[in-house]
């Protein structure tokens, strides 16, 4: 197996013949599989609580579809900028890559700000809190957990944008792999929202 850089542990950089992936990518996909089960459990809870009959009738909840749609578009755009960042680094254009990384982080922060101020804060002022009904309980729980995942993603992107950028100079191949893995995580977070949005805002 040829290696492009010295690997202490096999397949840190070179893809493995069976999986076709390097270690980090395979590991991240496995992590995403567990995240599917995490959010799946919460969706399962939503289904059971709703079938149980204790939700307010559709249309009685006051989630703003307009804000939800805007946030959806923001997150989808951030997904594109993330993959374009990876592509830029692959094409040896670190300047563009960093620009796209920064755009991703800023869009993510915009998503969080809108959610925290226009949605959560607004609801709290109306007196709608997690203990108001099981619908709002699962809404706050799922969107909150999703939001925490976004915060985590922003931290990681920020790391590779600033203090971690040194790896681009010492080991560009590994840096690109790390960006790819960050992208996988980011797209997954976007994917969860793609399902959260219709379930909570539209159905």
């Amino acid at each position: 197996m040829s290696t492009t850089a010295t690997e202490v542990l096999p397949h840190t950089l070179t893809p493995h013949p069976v999986t076709g992936m390097y270690n980090g990518k395979f590991g991240l996909w496995l992590f995403l599989a567990s995240e599917i089960m995490l959010f799946g459990a919460l969706f399962s809870s939503y289904v059971l609580l709703r079938v149980h009959g204790a939700f307010p009738h559709h249309g009685e909840h006051s989630l703003s579809v307009k804000i939800g749609t805007i946030n959806t578009m923001i997150l989808i755009t951030s997904s594109v900028t993330m993959v374009l960042a990876w592509a830029a680094f692959k094409l040896n254009e670190p300047g563009k890559g960093r620009m796209f990384l920064a755009a991703t982080a800023l869009l993510a922060i915009a998503f969080l700000v809108i959610k925290l101020t226009l949605e959560y804060q607004h609801k709290y002022h109306e007196g709608i809190r997690p203990d108001t009904s099981t619908f709002y309980a699962i809404y706050y729980c799922m969107t909150g957990l999703h939001g925490l995942h976004i915060v985590g993603g922003v931290i990681v992107i920020g790391y590779f944008l600033l203090p971690g950028f040194g790896m681009w100079k010492t080991n560009p191949e590994q840096y690109i792999n790390r960006i790819e893995c960050t992208g996988l995580y980011w797209h997954f977070v976007d994917l969860v929202w793609i399902f959260l949005f219709p379930v909570f805002y539209l159905l």
Partner: protein, 591 residues
Amino acid sequence: MSSDHGHHHEPGFIRKYLFSVDHKVIGVQYAVTSLVFLFIGFSLMMIMRWQLAYPSAPIPFIGGWLASAVQGVVDKTGTLLPEGYNALGAMHGTIMVFLGVVPLAVGGFGNYVMPLQIGAPDMAFPRLNMASYWVFLPGGIIMLASFFVPGGAANSGWTAYPPLSVTANVTGTNPFWNGQTMWLLGMIFLITSSLLGSVNFIVTIVHLRVKGLQLFRMPFFVWAQFVTAFLLLLAFPPLEAAGVMQLMDRVFDTSFFMPSGLVVSGQLQEYSGGGSPLLWQHLFWFLAHPEVYVLILPAIGIVGEVIANNTRKPLWGYRVLVYSIIFLGFMSFVVWAHHMFLTGMGTTLSTFFQTTTMIISVPSVVILTAFLLSLYGAAIRFTVPMLFAIAFLPMFAIGGLTGLPLGLSASDIHLHDTYYVIGHFHYVVAPGTIMALFAGIYYWFPKVTGRKMNDFLGKLHFWPTLIFMNAVFMPMFFVGLQGVSRRLWDQTSYVTGNETHNWVKMSSWGAWMLGLSQLPFIINFFYSAFAGKKVAANPWAATTLEWAAPSPPPHGNFPEVPVVYRGPYEYSVPGSRQDYSPQHVPDAKLA
């Protein structure tokens, strides 16, 4: 790992022993920590057994100390209180399962042995491995600390069923620092640690095997760890989600699990209601059933290794064993609601889960049969590890067979939540898994320390342990069949509890004798680590790769990267001079 990490200067004490990224150091950390937790969890049970045998009698020797050290467990005479009994019971289960057995079986044995058995220099993600341990430890400490907060430790069972678990320990206490909330926080740490570990295990096993080590040449122990890692990866997250929801119910008064119209202590609860206690049970058991297979699979792996080595024959039906363990792992995800037959979830679900539960008993029987057939016709070496491994077989058989009436919903009506259940699962975990883990400790101790454990002390440990394990748990079947409930502080306040009380006393005395029987092991463990007989790399004349490394292996494990030429259990190959053909020795060089 940075790519220019060729050789390194000798790290200081903290980097070498505390915050090491070496899988062997981390494995020993997990093993030592989990043995301490096992001791603590067992001690809790020894206290509980006093109350069960001699209800309302003050606990001897330590009753006074308990009264002053911990609130709410014993009264001022040193007698166990009902709430204290419940707290000890909930924490005994939690500690044994999540802080004892799994960290030892997976974090300890898996971490140490698996990379060696596949010829790898370390795990795929060494720093993640270190992080796993250092997330596990705070989780354990939070759990233990919960004994010392007002209201005491969690006391709603290791199963933490709401509404009890949501309303417990809440009145008059701090909303955050109380037993059940700390239990939930501790679980979140433990689940995260487990998750990080399982990713590491899977990538390591798939990617880091040396040349020639195809999947069907892997030692059975590695297969067991592989399936276990998938179980941990996919089954734990729903409990994490459920734990977050229960935390929200406790701290933010949500109603995920709180039904409408709940009355607690005569007061109507003012939750929004509409929640479902059954939701918690579904999510909890979705993890907890695969979790019990996490408890048994590494043990089965260890038993396979020890049997092959000490029969000097290949394991019977290696392929069948591998397919069975994969099928077992898969099925373990779709049997969970056999723990919920009596919840009123309805006959549709009961029928489905009863069927899958019956199906899952098949691969277990296949595995047990293959192990028994492996013994047939062998010139058995009755080493200490082999004694424990052979004893595992009938013990696991009893545990497994007694599970069948529990898995059939009709008979479960009579047996659910009785001592029969406790007898069943303890047979699998205690004379089952824990004895297999002892086998593993005696077997791999020479690899880890370069010294053998003392044989006489080993046998002095084995025989009383086997006898007293049965003394503790066999009576529970009789007690349970008579209808005595589990989790009762005073069984004798019921007629059937009175009638079966002698069995209960036998279990208690058996437990205390079992505790004493561990003394030879503890002495042996520490003595041999420093002054045991020194041995070379392969004292058991074994074939698998870990025995090709020095004892103990250096950082990086193998001076030369091994290549594998044959299967894992090539013992007594016809025509060869030695009775074992190690995996890494080419044909031409076989002695």
